[in-house]
Symmetry: C2
Subunit: 137 residues, 2 copies
DNA sequence: AGTACAAACTTGCAAAATGCAAGCGCGATT
DNA sequence: AATCGCGCTTGCATTTTGCAAGTTTGTACT
């Protein structure tokens, strides 16, 4: 899908920014699994390849969903952290998870977060938000 | 992204089914704009091309989100309607719309549905659901 | 000091998905 | 009988992806 410079539709606007599957997986890793380093994203089960990961991180930074902080004189300290715009995706991600939970017979319910999503979504969100200090962009 | 036969993650499961941008636009048209005919989907602002539309409709039918009913001896009666699985995407679509509304300065707020989404989401969902009679899976 | 290792990318290339234009078969309309 | 609209399919150029390999810079070990 061609990226549009402007749309009247909020859905298309959103999809243009993070509507490819890889972006959402990166965002999931940032928001839910609290990942921040290149190597951590690479290690996900979904096996994103290095060039795609690199491109996605860049485009998410450009779109203002992630902030990249590079350690002075140490590449190993490079970090990607969510902005408020990304934190506001929690409701979207939770909604998707609810749907997936309902229809995916293979969901691993032993992951603690899954139970909590069903029984106490708001509490889960509050807890996860604490990973990110004050962003208040 | 390669389609996986099974995932443990509900998000990846969902993305494998409708995680490409075109599928979600078709689903938006079905759920929000009550479209049902090929020609109606084609007419969307986003200008999906015929082959892609055809492929997406097929894959959504295969995935069980849409049902195709062909009129006997009249192609013009062919219709695509959502199953319960698709109706359960309302929360996802609404969540995406909320996010898009917040960050897209170009959203057309004169579209009646936009106002209603903000002021009375549940009512909006109830009203839209009435377009679909009894689906009950 | 020298070697090894790791982290974060980049590059090259084949394979798949997309965008665009054109065409096709069929029933309805004129 | 001829034309039109509808729901597609086909062909082909362009773009995006997947995979493997290589590059650069800092860190750790001997």
């Amino acid at each position: 899908m061609k990226k549009r410079s402007s749309t009247v539709c909020p859905i298309v606007y959103a999809l243009d920014i993070w509507g490819d599957p890889w972006s959402l997986i990166v965002l999931r890793d940032v928001l839910i699994h609290n990942k921040r380093h290149y190597r951590e994203f690479l290690a996900s089960r979904e096996r994103i390849s290095t060039n795609i990961l690199s491109a996605r991180l860049q485009s998410l930074v450009e779109a203002g969903l992630l902030v990249k902080t590079e350690g002075d004189s140490n590449r190993a300290q490079t970090m990607y952290r969510p902005t408020q715009q990304a934190l506001d995706l929690f409701p979207v991600i939770f909604a998707i998870m609810h749907w997936g939970l309902k229809y995916n017979p293979n969901t691993d319910m032993t992951i603690p977060i899954m139970q909590e999503l069903v029984t106490n979504e708001k509490g889960l969100e509050q807890r996860l938000l604490q990973n990110f200090g004050d962003v208040t962009s």
